[in-house]
């Protein structure tokens, strides 16, 4: 039935959920529960990761088709099926989810002290939802997972968050929900028209160009909020600030990619005309996101807020790349999403390291940390440099490809995207300077301990990844090379056909 010989995608998706169930069933003393919950969460996420590695090795990179396909009729009368499968565009996102979750569990090992059981269970449910989202090839399933992500994240922010967690959690929830309601309507419309919710079939059939703009906008509402694009980005800094460290990691590392992935998976192939027509609007929003939020980042006094705004700017690069519709742009955008998933996660983990020790995210509260925490300073420096897209680190490849492809569309578009290079350097280095450099003026900072073995274990894989992706990105690019080529070809065919049609009509 597929290259692995067993339903691997479902297994990877639902294994964490099983882990969550086990955790929920644990009984006993408070401390025992906590410890059991931690270990169960770690093991189930590690096993899920180990399983997902099969995808890395067995995935056929030369094919643009869906692989490891599973299909079960669910509501046959309505053309709805439980359909899973990955292609080059999604397979690495699955790996990103499974790789980040164990790190998040490790990062929360000591910093979460109350309701550990519920916390770990929420994380595993979250993992299930995310993996499912990237594997789903049926619109309804896609939507279900998309919404399912919302709930554990809402709880993680709302229960284990900072002082304004309730405000942040509701803001997060309402923003995303508002978008996804419109998407649901669009999905129902699509289903009504085609009689099926199978994504490949829908793409094959095509959507009447007359409806494309409206449907595109409905999906756009859901995805733009998730990305987040300017001006619906303000939920993100609040959510990040209040979320616990691991929550921020998943939020930045995976949740933001749901939007970008949605564009690539659905908006582009389903609505090529609308995408082409509305591209200028998206370019404008992306450039504003890059420039404007970079400036906003410069004014931040809270470490997490600064990194959150920098995420918005980096995701601007992604949306810009997607809507250039050319090979480099799409490759760059997908790569940038993966790179950002690693780098911003690592940056939030860096903040977490400091927060666990000092319990403050105020930049002004720090200064001179490099003196007492040299290993941490080195790691933080590496990821700061990755954040400014230094060649040799992961982010460079994505940004470079997107800027190159933007140049083909318009010089000033490329200029706007490249402005992020300067502003990004300014805010990132300034953050680093205020936190790590300078003379230590506060007594309590003098006694800070450098990273513990557990923290080393959290960062080591990320350090390796960020350098690997920067020095030999080919290992990753080759996964989606053919899929991107197919996507570009399909898009050009669709838009080209419409143009020819329009020309004949005019004649």
């Amino acid at each position: 039935m597929n290259a692995a010989g067993f339903p691997i995608l479902s297994l990877v998706t639902f294994l964490p959920l099983a882990g969550a169930l086990i955790i929920a069933l644990v009984r006993g003393e408070e401390r025992v529960i906590a410890s059991n919950a931690r270990w169960t969460a770690l093991w189930s996420s590690l096993i899920a990761f180990g399983l997902s590695l099969i995808l890395w090795f067995r995935f056929d990179r030369s094919s643009a088709e869906l692989q490891f396909v599973e299909r079960l009729d669910w509501l046959p009368d309505y053309g709805v099926a439980y359909a899973m499968g990955v292609d080059g565009l999604s397979v690495l996102f699955v790996l990103l989810c499974t790789a980040l979750t164990p790190l998040c569990v490790l990062a929360s090992w000591e910093s979460i002290e109350h309701r550990v059981r519920e916390y770990m269970a929420a994380f595993l449910v979250l993992e299930s939802a995310m993996v499912g989202f990237f594997c789903a090839t049926d619109l309804l399933l896609f939507f279900l997972f998309f919404e399912m992500v919302l709930i554990p994240m809402f709880l993680i922010i709302g229960i284990w968050g900072g002082p304004r967690r309730v405000y942040a959690a509701f803001k997060f929830f309402l923003y995303t929900l508002a978008g996804s309601l419109l998407m649901l309507l669009a999905i129902i419309f699509l289903w009504h028209n085609a009689g099926t919710t199978d994504i490949p079939t829908l793409i094959q059939t095509g959507v009447d160009p007359r409806y494309q703009i409206w449907l595109f906008l409905a999906f756009f509402a859901a995805f733009a909020v998730k990305v987040p694009m300017w001006p619906v980005h303000t939920w993100l800094p609040d959510a990040h600030v209040e979320a616990p460290t691991a929550g921020s990691v998943i939020l930045a590392g995976v949740l933001l990619k749901l939007g970008g992935y949605g564009f690539v998976r659905l908006s582009l192939p389903l609505f090529p005309h609308a995408a082409a027509e509305l591209a200028p609007l998206i370019f404008a929003l992306s450039v504003i996101a890059i420039v404007y939020t970079s400036f906003v980042a410069l004014a931040q006094e809270d470490m997490k807020k600064l990194i959150a705004y920098s995420s918005v700017a980096h995701m601007g690069i992604v949306t810009l790349g997607i809507f250039t519709f050319n090979h480099q742009g799409l490759s760059g955008a997908v790569f940038q999403m993966l790179a950002h998933g690693v780098v911003s996660s690592a940056l939030f983990l860096c903040v977490g390291v400091l927060y666990d020790r000092v319990h403050s995210r105020d930049i002004a509260r720090y200064g001179g940390v490099a003196k007492v925490m040299p290993a941490f300073a080195a790691v933080f420096m590496l990821f700061s440099m990755a954040n400014v897209a230094l060649p040799g680190t992961a982010n460079f490849v994505g940004e470079f490809l997107v800027i190159v492809s933007a140049m083909r569309t318009n010089f000033w578009l490329a200029f706007g995207a490249a402005l992020g290079m300067v502003l990004g350097a300014a805010y990132t280095l300034w953050l680093y300077r205020r936190v790590a450099f300078g003379r230590i003026t506060r007594e309590d900072l003098k006694g800070l301990l450098d990273m513990s073995p557990r923290e080393h274990a959290v960062f080591a894989p990320l350090v390796l990844l960020v350098l690997w992706m920067g020095v030999y990105p080919q290992s990753f690019l080759s996964f989606f090379e053919t899929s991107v080529a197919a996507l570009v070809q399909q898009h050009e065919a669709a838009v080209g056909a419409a143009q020819r049609f329009a020309e004949t009509v005019v004649r």
């Binding site: 129902i188 480099q328 490849v397 200029f415 490249a418 003379r439 990105p473 570009v488």
Partner: protein, 638 residues
Amino acid sequence: MYVGAVFFPLLGACISGFLGRWIGPIAARWSTVVCMALAAACGVPAFFDVAFGHNPATVPIAAWIATGGLEVSWALRYDTLSAVMVGMVTFVSFLIHLYSVGYMAHDPTQPRFFAYLSLFTFMMLMLVTADNLVQLFFGWEGVGLASYLLIGYWYERESANAAAIKAFVVNRVGDLFFMLGVALTFWTFGSLEFTAIFGAVDQHLGDRFLGVPALELIAVLLFLGACGKSAQIGLHTWLPDAMEGPTPVSALIHAATMVTAGVFLVARMSPLFEYAPTALAIVTVVGAATAFFAATVGCVQNDIKRVIAYSTCSQLGYMFFAAGVGAYQAAIFHLFTHAFFKALLFLGAGSVIHAMSDEQDIRKMGGIWTRVPVTYAVMWVGSLALAGIPIFAGYYSKDAILEAAFASHSATGMLAFLLGLVAAFLTAFYSWRLLILVFHGAPRADEHVMAHVHESPLVMLVPLLLLAAGAVLTGYLFAPFFIGHAWEEFWAGSIHNAPHNHILHDMHEVPAWVPLAPTVAGFTGIALAYVLYMFAPGVPERLAATFRGFYLFLLNKWYFDELYDAIFVRPALAIARIAFRVGDQRIIDGVPNGAAALAVDAARGAVRIQTGRVASYAFTMIIGLVLFVSLLYLGTTR
């Protein structure tokens, strides 16, 4: 050999950086020195092999980025141009490493320092051996990173941090244009590999982009990138501040690595620049302006390292206008000789600073020449070379540049010639002003410092003597090959001169007074310095008092920093604050928060009627609504 020259420094950096804590500072620093020695032992023979043995090669390493027709790989390209750079960089950097062993002996975090130093060298080597624009950009940004780390090495000092960030961000402004240039190159040529680009230049002469010839636009964008790295006027502001780093770093930045990258880029892209006459004219004017501007500022600075820093800036201007008039070979030759005498001057200055208990203000020095004879002698050699006095290295290269500018017979070339001549005079003047103020006259330091003045240890003097030998000999020995009769054979096409460009021939056919003029200007400058600072030491102060406005203008470096602060830095911060407080908090967040507040008010009203939790009601309602609508929809359509 080719691979070793580039990767030994990386090895050294890794050993020192990652293992430094375990192997201790002594092992760490010597491991980098040994690795650098090995790199030099590979790099210098590689230079002779490639340039004189006519044995260019490209060593492929691995694929890097390949997606949809855009393919770049990691590879080491050894042609004469890069071999010159590799030989020079590894050799000079090795001497600087050796010198640092003595200079940094009392520093508490040496493994870090030596790791950065080696990393810096590695990045520069990656830059010069790149066989495509993206790998060049890797090295380009890499030296930016290393310089940032080294300038901010003493990170407890606020000024060092500020200088480091400034260096990185100003460089990034240049890099922005570099990146755009790379992007445009790709869409024009369909490739970023040098061989492919250079082979296709004549097919794209007519291409236009944004209404201008594409080649011109690419050349201008790349040159703007070069301006950042090579501190040309407008983007030069980071260079003097970069003096915040330890002195060996300044030597490395100014001589072997970093600032020469821009000149190298223009020479590397010569096949493209040759067909971009407007861009070349811009290069000439900017170079000439920088040469003149920096020389004027150098005349009034009081920090020993800043004087030398401005002299670098000025000499880079020479290199650029040489390239601008088409004499890329002369530019690279000056780069090559300059590396030796500038490293010498900086390390000599370091030796002085070392002797003076970390004093850098030349007004507080003087009268020490008998106490530090070797340093004194090598500073003389370095200054003679810098001023372009015959038989010293700078004479050959600087003369060649001015002759080429004269021989170009264009308005911009003539402007460059005149400004270059004035700058040559000023160069000699400030060099001897420095020598006299530092070494001669009555001691102006306090007794405590004076009692402590001592010559540097041998590990610092040996590099100085070797560099001094280079500052004397490199001009005489290499002039025939770089710019003399054997140039065509030597360069072997690694620098391209278009068929219409005869500058390397014409520069030998200028009127007899032209080659003499720079020498005369040099001697006049030296004489003036003697008059003003040795024989009539009161005059400079009176001059400064009389022309106070002019003096302050020079002293404050033409007010570039203040100008940029007013038009870039402060507005940027203001925009940042406004964007955040007004844009994000008030406008974008204001709407939903306002709506939420309204909803809450309305809900309060509702609460009076119903009891229970508002949120749960709201959610039940929304979800119910969604279900209802969708069911209705399903029901009516099926």
